[in-house]
Symmetry: C2
Subunit: 427 residues, 2 copies
């Protein structure tokens, strides 16, 4: 295929994540997402991502592929102290360089280890090996240095795979390096807007957005469905010369068509939106979780500062806990079942009254795989909301998916009910 | 299979995940992990993973790269009904095929949509377009069919990106197809063992495993550190002819050297191990979570059947909740601070006594980024355990990392304390 690199195009980038663990399951390459975001701010588009094991020949293969199609190559991983870390050797082989111990790499590592009261061991000494002609990328967090070099018209950057180290090195060295090496025309950065929706199926989002983008407008529309909702993205085509106006007018149209199904834009999460509204309205919340098992509490408390509005949560997995901690009447559970609109309402009321917060939020449902019946199948979930202005709401959902998905959807539905109530404005 | 390229090597595979969303952040390609696991059972090693956007030229580029280095190529994504889904077109272009509507693809889709009371719309009709010479891979879950074809000595398989659909199609069609097309010698499947450790730094694991694998043994050792601990993997080199004995003897040595730092093997998670021990010992647990905010409850209740041992949890984010729900004395919080060994002990005792379970587990700490002091910095966490045999334990931890990492490490430390207590054997 051989794409011609011309100066009129923004530089394409490729990430290469090295590590057999990334191939063999249990771990995914999340570093590349961070790198993509950082490069996008420079107008550099990551067009390819590769993952390859700790195998020198395979890394060389990946490098040779990348250098044909990318002007910026960011590698992560394989720079550790153990013998299976062979990124250094692979880069040296692919680019025809020699490896030698570099003074500044060694000294940086030594200084770092000294802070921890340690001296470099034999494996760590290998980490000071840098290909000839490459520059050291200092590691302000950990012991493994990175490096960068120019190779066949591309900038090749090798960073450790530890996310915190990679991120610090991107911020402190790589982004400034790229900014100076690949100056972009002003306004040529990739412009992208993201809308997060909940409560509307992907097919309906698709139908509502039909004909959204006039033919002449260089914006791409993307949809992605997940258990947490449907994500809508608008991306200004990177090779487009158009200004921001096009994207602004299309995004206004997206908001008009999808209305309050959109719960967040950009990088904001549902829990951040809910937290922001609670904080702004000086309201506090308490949770009564059955089938979600603590997931809603976990999500709300992921937000720094959440202690100002999150008072408490009760994970009432057993019926006895619902009675003892929330004051749900045993007869109600017996008559209606623990998974019922009545019990959801009583849970929300109980947790609000007992904790003295502004609003109580409850979930009771059947996450499966066991426990379902014909009348109450796996996926049946009730969400309750009880507020100090007299509001009492219950919503019934019938979710599909496995246990994890049903828990995720339930937590999202509960937080969305709270979001909508907060948005509606109350005295 | 047309021509055999390297009869002495097991077939190498490559996954190609298609979707601009996977490049642009917020989502990672988790499908490839599932595919890797499925192929490993057939002795097929995924050596490369690629991610590429919804750009036909880039997908063609990725396909041309893959066909040079892999005998099995599994693509996911880009088969949806929207115009940005162009996997079909890219495969047709790369492999020099024509696209035409295929009867069985159309009928399968029509039947599926009919179940949902819908008829195919224009976009969905595109999903019945299949490259000439390709076979349809039926989709037993969703509407988008997949397909497979032979191309330049490789088997190319295209599946939808929706995880549930991809997994069902792998199981029902792709795995049987590959098993019949690429018969492996018995015992040639990839053999891999994984050990999950907690509480020991990566450098110490590395030191303890020094000289583990004799030179002649064709086993690779891998280490991977994460907030949840250090993962140790032993992988029989795929091209090795050695039997299982080598792996067995090395794995015995790993267990001997790492002892009870190993909390799980294989795919088992910490919460599954703890759940298994609780169920086996007919013990019940209640949680008192402060800084983890519900994460421990969420993790324990991810395990199907956890309602038999998980009674309840209390997320006591406010001090008032610690007093009201757990009976922690206000003076204790005032004198020692909410983050203290004394309060952790009182929380564990309170939640156990009030719920009447066998064992209470508590966490109190400073997850950050705010709230730290010199005496009590961000990352200071106390874990308490109180059991009905009189046990009362408190462990102090000083974790590094951001809020998410500190919550993760705290939950892991708490579950590990419970695991160790359960393993120690009690009347």
């Amino acid at each position: 295929m051989g794409r011609v690199r011309t100066s009129s195009k923004p530089p394409a980038a490729e990430t290469i994540a090295v590590g057999s663990e990334l191939l063999l399951g249990g771990r995914t390459d999340s570093n590349s997402l961070h790198i993509t975001d950082e490069l996008a701010t420079l107008g550099i588009e990551v067009r390819f991502k590769s993952v390859v094991g700790d195998d020198r020949a395979d890394i060389v293969q990946a490098l040779n592929t990348a250098v044909r199609r990318a002007r910026v190559i960011v590698m992560t991983g394989g720079l550790g102290p153990t013998v299976d870390d062979c990124t250094r050797e692979a880069v040296a082989q692919a680019a025809g360089r020699r490896l030698a111990r570099r003074k500044e790499a060694f000294e940086g590592m030594q200084a770092r280890l000294a802070q921890w009261g340690r001296v470099p061991n034999k494996g760590q000494l290998r980490q000071a090996l840098i290909p000839s002609g490459a520059s050291v990328v200092p590691n302000p967090v950990g012991s493994a240095p990175g490096f960068w070099l120019s190779w066949r018209g591309a900038l090749l950057i090798a960073l450790p795979g530890v996310p915190g180290e990679m991120a610090a090195m991107m911020r402190e060295t790589v982004v400034p390096l790229l900014a100076s090496r690949l100056p972009q025309a002003p306004g040529r950065s990739i412009r992208r807007l993201i809308f997060h929706t909940w409560g509307i199926p992907e097919a309906d989002v698709d139908a509502k957005l039909l004909g959204l983008i006039p033919h002449a407008i260089p914006v791409d529309l993307g949809l992605l469905a997940s258990p947490m909702g449907v994500l809508v993205s608008l991306t200004m085509k990177p090779r487009a010369a158009a200004g921001d106006d096009a994207l602004v007018s299309v995004s206004d149209e997206v908001r008009a068509r999808l209305q309050d199904w959109i719960f967040a834009e950009g990088q904001e999460s549902m829990e951040e939106v809910v937290g922001r509204l609670l904080a702004k309205q000086h309201r506090t919340v308490a949770l009564a979780e059955s089938c979600t098992g603590g997931l809603i509490g976990h999500r709300l408390t992921q937000v720094p500062g959440s202690s100002s509005y999150m008072d408490r949560g009760v994970i009432c997995y057993s019926n006895r806990a619902k009675v003892e901690l929330l004051g749900v009447r045993p007869e109600l559970i017996e008559q209606q079942g623990a998974v019922s609109a009545e019990v959801a309402a009583a849970m929300a009321k109980g947790v609000r009254e007992r904790s003295g917060v502004s609003v109580g939020l409850s979930v009771t449902g059947i996450a499966g795989p066991g426990g379902g019946t014909t009348a109450k199948p796996v996926g049946l979930v009730y969400i309750g909301l009880n507020a100090d202005d007299g509001t009492s709401l219950v919503k019934e959902h019938r979710f599909h998916g496995d246990r994890t998905v049903i828990k995720q959807r339930s937590s999202q539905a509960a937080l969305d009910l709270l979001r909508r109530w907060l948005l509606a404005g109350h005295p």
